[in-house]
């Protein structure tokens, strides 16, 4: 009977400790996960921001970063305008870059459009070259001083979870 009482007492203490430690452990685990979330947030933001800025600077500093080329077929008279952007990925994650170029008349009517996109691995470079094909009539009627270029640039990084899109429109 005496041993039974001791056993009960020990069991009671153990149960109390167990409950206490379970709560305490849960709190500790939650605290660790919460800190891990905050650290993941900070690390992902810093790497994305640093990588994107590095990519932007490296791309703009490249001598042949943006080129525009206009050719015309001497036989058919059709023309092609090629806008090229050389993107250098200097970040930590694979990036997606897309370029959508539209050529509009001064009245806003679309004459031609070109689309190009690709994924660029870290440390690699990729060239975007959307081609705007123009028929002979359009090419001859094209007045570049009055024409409007609408350039849409898409940029995605960090497993396509963070994105940036800009649309530039030069008006005459």
């Amino acid at each position: 009977m005496r041993y039974w009482g001791i056993f009960n007492f020990v069991q009671l203490i153990c149960l109390g400790c167990r409950r206490h430690f379970v709560l305490k452990d849960r709190t500790r685990v939650l605290a660790i996960i919460s800190i891990a979330f905050e650290l993941a947030l900070l690390a992902s933001f810093l790497t994305v921001a640093y990588g994107s800025m590095n990519t932007l600077i490296a791309t703009l500093q490249d001598e042949r970063s943006i080129e525009m080329n206009m050719v015309r077929d001497p036989i058919t008279g059709d023309g092609q305008i090629t806008l090229s952007i050389n993107v250098q990925n200097r970040g930590f994650y694979r990036i997606y870059v897309g370029l959508h170029v539209r050529l509009l008349t001064s009245l806003g009517q679309q004459i031609a459009e070109g689309i190009d996109s690709r994924y660029v691995e870290p440390g690699d470079e990729g060239r975007l070259s959307p081609v705007l094909a123009l028929s002979r009539e359009n090419f001859e009627a094209l007045d570049l001083t009055g024409a409007r270029f609408v350039v849409q640039f898409d940029f995605k990084t960090f497993f396509d979870l963070v994105s940036f899109r800009t649309e530039l429109e030069a008006r005459p």
Partner: protein, 160 residues
């Protein structure tokens, strides 16, 4: 209850959220500040005011939290309040001044004859921040119940 923490943490919060941003803005080149204002990319005044208000309230809540026992409801309320204010502040920062954009910043600029529209999608960070805040609240609730258990165990031991 920790009186030292109750003084140090609110002071640090006030320094980081109220004093440092204002000093940084004063030290920043005037041309840069006026250019940001003119472009309308970010409403600096709004962000500064939001930082000040949230800094003051978070410092107050931190003082309450550290000067009360962990098992009190006011301690739990101040912890949760602090986490919520931090989340709203981060929403404001991820949205560049607009907390209800939930991390999707949209701006249109007109410079000379060039029109530029920008869309910056930072929703992933907002979702991560929301997750961290929820976990923080859950942790505070667990700390509260854990403290209640400990307090009851202590009073039971001293009473029995």
């Amino acid at each position: 209850m920790n009186k030292v923490k109750g003084l140090i943490f609110p002071t640090l919060i006030l320094l980081v959220l109220v004093v440092v941003p204002r000093v940084a803005l004063m030290l920043a080149p005037v041309e840069m500040v006026s250019m940001i204002d003119a472009m309308g990319l970010v409403d600096l005044d709004l962000i500064l005011n939001a930082l000040t208000i949230s800094g003051l309230s978070m410092a107050m809540l931190s003082a309450i939290k550290n000067l009360t026992e962990k098992w009190t409801t006011i301690n739990l309320a101040s912890s949760i309040g602090s986490t919520i204010i931090w989340f709203i502040l981060s929403l404001l920062l991820w949205g560049a001044g607009d907390p209800w954009s939930f991390g999707e910043i949209r701006r249109t600029l007109n410079v000379m004859n060039l029109m530029a529209s920008l869309i910056l999608n930072l929703r992933f960070f907002v979702i991560l921040q929301a997750g961290a805040s929820l976990l923080g609240i859950l942790k505070n609730v667990f700390v509260y119940f854990s403290a209640i258990d400990r307090m009851r165990a202590q009073s039971g031991a001293s009473g029995g």
